[in-house]
Homo-oligomer: 314 residues x 2
Amino acid sequence: MSAAKKLRLAVAQLGPVQRADTRAQVVRRLVDLLHEAHGRGARWVTFPELALTTFFPRWSLEDPAEVRSFFETEMPGPATRPLFDAARAKGIGFYLGYAELDGETQYNTSILVGPDGRIIGKYRKIHIPGDASSREGAALQHLEKKYFAVGDLGFPVWDTPDAAIGMCICNDRRWPETFRVMGLQGVDVVMVGYNTPSGYVQWNEPIHLRMHHHLLSLQSAAYQNACWIAAAAKAGVEEGSPMIGGSCIVAPAGEIMVRAFSEDDEVINYMCDLSVSGHYRANIFNFAAHRRPEHYRPIVERTGAGAPLGAAPP
Amino acid sequence: MSAAKKLRLAVAQLGPVQRADTRAQVVRRLVDLLHEAHGRGARWVTFPELALTTFFPRWSLEDPAEVRSFFETEMPGPATRPLFDAARAKGIGFYLGYAELDGETQYNTSILVGPDGRIIGKYRKIHIPGDASSREGAALQHLEKKYFAVGDLGFPVWDTPDAAIGMCICNDRRWPETFRVMGLQGVDVVMVGYNTPSGYVQWNEPIHLRMHHHLLSLQSAAYQNACWIAAAAKAGVEEGSPMIGGSCIVAPAGEIMVRAFSEDDEVINYMCDLSVSGHYRANIFNFAAHRRPEHYRPIVERTGAGAPLGAAPP
């Protein structure tokens, strides 16, 4: 149908970042990965969520100064500027996740930086998982609701000369609403970073399901919105807590085209044909022809589950 | 967490139904399959979409009398009553898909019939795929929009003594909105029948993707809404046109627990633990705690894709 439109994407998976690692050390790793991605011809590279520090929401921290030490107040700042400089020097764009302090409000944030080194867009995580305070008796804590306000920027998509690009963060990828809102803006590529504990189980869920759910969520979202997805893990054992890898690039057909092997620093890349989206959007997922929003109202009118709506048949 | 709550479901896949097959012949097959399901202890059995006839939307039929010959004007009618009688005699409930003529309006419909043989609920297919008139030069036609009005009953869920049960039909399963609207009613089990042409390709899509997309859609929907899904194909070669099988029962973990092997009449069954849903609904998919409908508005405010919403970052 449409002519091929090729765009080479890379994903830079990060191995663990320990509490003692400095910003300068982490940014050096990010720059190395960016150079590796550029060496493979990539035009864009996706880094993980909260890429600059260890995944601190595993702890209940009470000292405000200690909490603030994990947050950025400017972007780029002195520690992160080398990454922006490297990107501009190589002409490669990137997605970066970090903890953002905006006035007194804390967000789990990602930015999209263009190949010219300028910030194109910002996203603040909307689906904040876990708890606002420690769960008694739990082997593991997940306290994102303690540290992060709900994002206030929606799920925007940005038109760039290469592609229409959207962002989300970690747990957002499990919610089909996330990708549908971007699909309704004609998104070509969604970038997503994540930190997913391998052992985070609030019940005795078989452990292999952590990876299964990660991949299943991305594959269905790519298919149902006819877009490419570039997903970057922070992986491996951080401060004794293991996290899954599984960084990957998923095609609009819902297939994983390339996937990281390790749980450490690793670059993957793929030559994506953006024109594939057009086939789906002209046929099975022609939204204008087939969607029926008049029957979707509970999606915005209910937050939690409510009463069944079934009545006797006519 | 919650105590196990076991419910044995069955799915009755149908092999092909040819144009010359009578209603009586088809209903005899359905009764046989129902008896087989009952023999395995099933309490509910899911039959396919448009189970009573061949999949006629592959043809462009102009003679109104011929078109009407594929539709039911009453349910049960004389031809289908034996199925209702068999279900009541065995105390087994069922889902059945058929073409419904209501006054002058034609719907692609399913009903939910209780173990007492009474109709509990009716659903009319909302996501009508394909075209309203023949596509010039296409090797295969898919003319559901010619024959069926868009369903007018929403996606209700019915509370039964066994489980909260919802229904959808074929192409509905590819749309995450379908299952989310039922998830927001606390659905335990979704039943879905389908006729999915193996060779229906509007572009040169690799053929293995037909089965992949079918399974991917069901698995992600079950996971993201923490429900069981019982999916029944009409399969095999009808009037020269092949259709996929792949009937299956999917768990709230997004895994296929049992799957049909053949493309012919075949029963599968599984002892489903409905309490598994509760684990997901109390944690990762606690909708009330984590959903953010204020950011989902494009899902109901847009039908087709519109302009990107990205602006410069704050």
